[in-house]
Amino acid sequence: MNFGKLIERLAQLIPVLLGVMVIVFFMMALTPGDPVDIMIGEQPISAEQEANLRHDMGLDLPPVERFIKFLGNAVTGNFGLSFFHRRPVIDVIAERLPATIELSLVSIILAILTSIPLGVLAAVKKNTIFDRVSTVGSLFGVSLPGFWFGILLLMLFAVHLRILPVSGRIGYAYEVDAVTHLLLIDSLIAGRLDTFANALSHLFLPALTLGLPMAAILMRVTRTSMLEVMSQDYIIFAEAKGISRTRILIRHALKNALIPTVTVAALETGSLLGGNMIVETVFGWPGLGRLVVESIFVHNYPLVQAAVLFYAVTYVFLNFFADILYTVLNPRVKL
């Protein structure tokens, strides 16, 4: 791979990110409701105190100045104080981020590991019962709204069957030293299998809810592109070479079929990040998504700005990596 090209592509991301910052900043500034009013609430306070508070928070400056300040600070990782927590936004986010990363990663891995084999299988067994059932299943997967499906799962597994916890990330008795802040990994480092199992039981339902739509779409895409690839001349030629069926499927067909899947997977990861907010709220998951939802309600501008910026940056980079992976899978495409 060409290193110079890589740098060039990275540099192209800068205007995109700048645009994101503009949108994020002004969208929040234009939202109705005054954060100072919300902070004060019913407390008796003089007009002077209120003005001081407004000044402390930088809210008395004109929007353009506030934006430039915001931009300068953002580059250094300083997103100001969270109005609500009275602590640096970056610290609050860093505290909540691992839970979201863990949930998202498990969901994505779960979605990819189930959807691709199922999609391949559905293509190979085209028009059989298996293919039809998985088609209907994936239709459900795409159509079920996360907030509703999540509550259904909770009612079944946590309320009626009582085999999985209702909310949270870990039980009180199972805490371990934080190394990576990802509980599944930390518990293994600490050698605490009970913690691992407990964390997994908390993780299972939210990960399922979050990953299902992605899995459903990836399965459909994989099936369709597999079918397309399987009818190509190079598959017939590979068969004429007398190599085994499994090898043809994996080395010859799947590598080509994954090309559209990778693109869709990157896009879907974006909607999965959005889905985080709903799923974390439903399952009381102490992650960034829930924090953002809470912060929106209390007009906690700095935190929402930083979080949305974080989502946008993640999304932009995910697509960048998908582009790189794309060139690996498809040698005809150059970076």
Binding site: Q232, D233, Y234, I236, F237, A238, E239, A240, K241, G242, I243, S244, R245, R247, R251, H252, K255, N256, I259, L329, N330, P331, R332
Partner: protein
């Protein structure tokens, strides 16, 4: 060569496809023998069943298609109804195939080196030992094969992808893949159709050279009678799923006896006599659905008669020639 056993013997092969419009008999009673070392040309227009016939030989007919009858013997071994597993050990090793368009036949996502190597790893018993050793031995053979098909600097080019080669080179790479295990029979399906004329000759010379070096038999599927005349010992002409005439190339082309073969030869432009008008064959190839039992060419034939509506069998007309016509030779002009 008359006492020798044919390496491939197809007799009365029927291959059918179930389509939504009805049953299509794509190959209807095809019989053909190929002798060791021989080059047999199979000519016919698109849809005449030549490709399906040899897809049947390769065991590559898939539902909704199937082989409905007849026999295909390779070195005396029956191939019709053979298990997929045994078939797989035959394909690529003893019977190899090249396809019309190398651009679509080579996998765009894999290097050409890999694509040659995997045939060798699948079939060549001399490539043995540890995984590392096998790769090393196979790599040497890959380079050897690439040199055989005259790809310059094979050591570096084996890491290239198909789209990085020219059309002629891709065709040669495909031939290298087909010939990697030194098969006894090569089925070359329209090896030159996708190439321009200068490259066509190169590729055909290459196949002929290798055929002589390895002593293999070649079946050359084409719709170009000129190619047949130059490179094939014998020729079989197919029309609407049947072989309608076969025999030694010189004699068939010099004295065609089936009205269709005659028509084909008349429709070739003649460089020596450009004033002579080309005479295309009037009419269309019949649909292969719900065919009548009579001669398939009846609708386009100038010399048809009442008896042509009955089933016409293959007739032996001497000199190793057969023809599916009730009044052959009578119209030799």
């Amino acid at each position: 060569m008359t006492e020798a056993q044919p390496i491939l013997s197809i007799s009365n092969l029927q291959t059918r496809f179930a389509t939504r419009y009805g049953l299509v008999t794509a190959v209807d009673g095809v019989s053909l023998d190929v002798m060791p070392g021989e080059c047999v040309g199979v000519v016919g227009e698109s849809g005449s069943g030549k490709s399906v016939t040899f897809a049947s030989v390769m065991g590559l007919i898939k539902p909704p298609g199937w082989i409905d009858g007849g026999s295909i013997k390779f070195e005396g071994q029956e191939l019709v109804g053979m298990s997929e597993r045994s078939y797989r050990s035959l394909r690529g090793k003893y019977i190899a195939m090249t396809m019309q368009d190398a651009l679509t036949a080579l996998n765009p996502a894999l290097t050409v080196g890999f694509q040659i190597m995997e045939v060798l790893l699948a079939h060549d018993s001399q490539i043995s030992g540890s995984a590392r050793n096998r790769i090393r031995k196979a790599r040497a053979r890959v380079i050897e094969m690439m040199m055989l098909v005259r790809i310059p600097s094979p050591e570096t080019r084996l890491n290239d992808y198909p789209h990085q080669f020219s059309g002629g080179m891709r065709q040669r790479m495909m031939i290298a893949i087909a010939l990697a295990c030194r098969p006894k029979l090569l089925i070359a399906d329209e090896p030159t159709t996708a190439l321009d004329v200068t490259i066509q000759a190169q590729v055909l010379e290459l196949i002929t050279d290798i055929r002589q070096t390895l002593g293999m038999s070649v079946i050359l599927i084409t719709h170009d009678l000129g190619v047949v005349a130059e490179y094939c010992d014998r020729v079989a002409v197919m029309y609407a799923g049947q072989v309608i005439e076969s025999g030694p190339t010189k004699s068939v082309i010099g004295q065609p006896s089936h009205p269709y073969t005659q028509g084909l030869l008349r429709s070739i432009p003649n460089l020596a006599n450009l004033d002579k008008r080309i005479r295309p064959i009037e009419g269309q190839v019949p649909e292969l659905i719900d065919l009548t039992p009579g001669c398939r060419f009846i609708g386009r034939c100038d010399v048809r008669e009442e008896a042509c509506t009955q089933r016409v069998e293959m007739r032996n007309i001497g000199q190793g020639r057969t023809v599916r016509c009730i009044q052959p030779k009578g119209n030799v002009q």
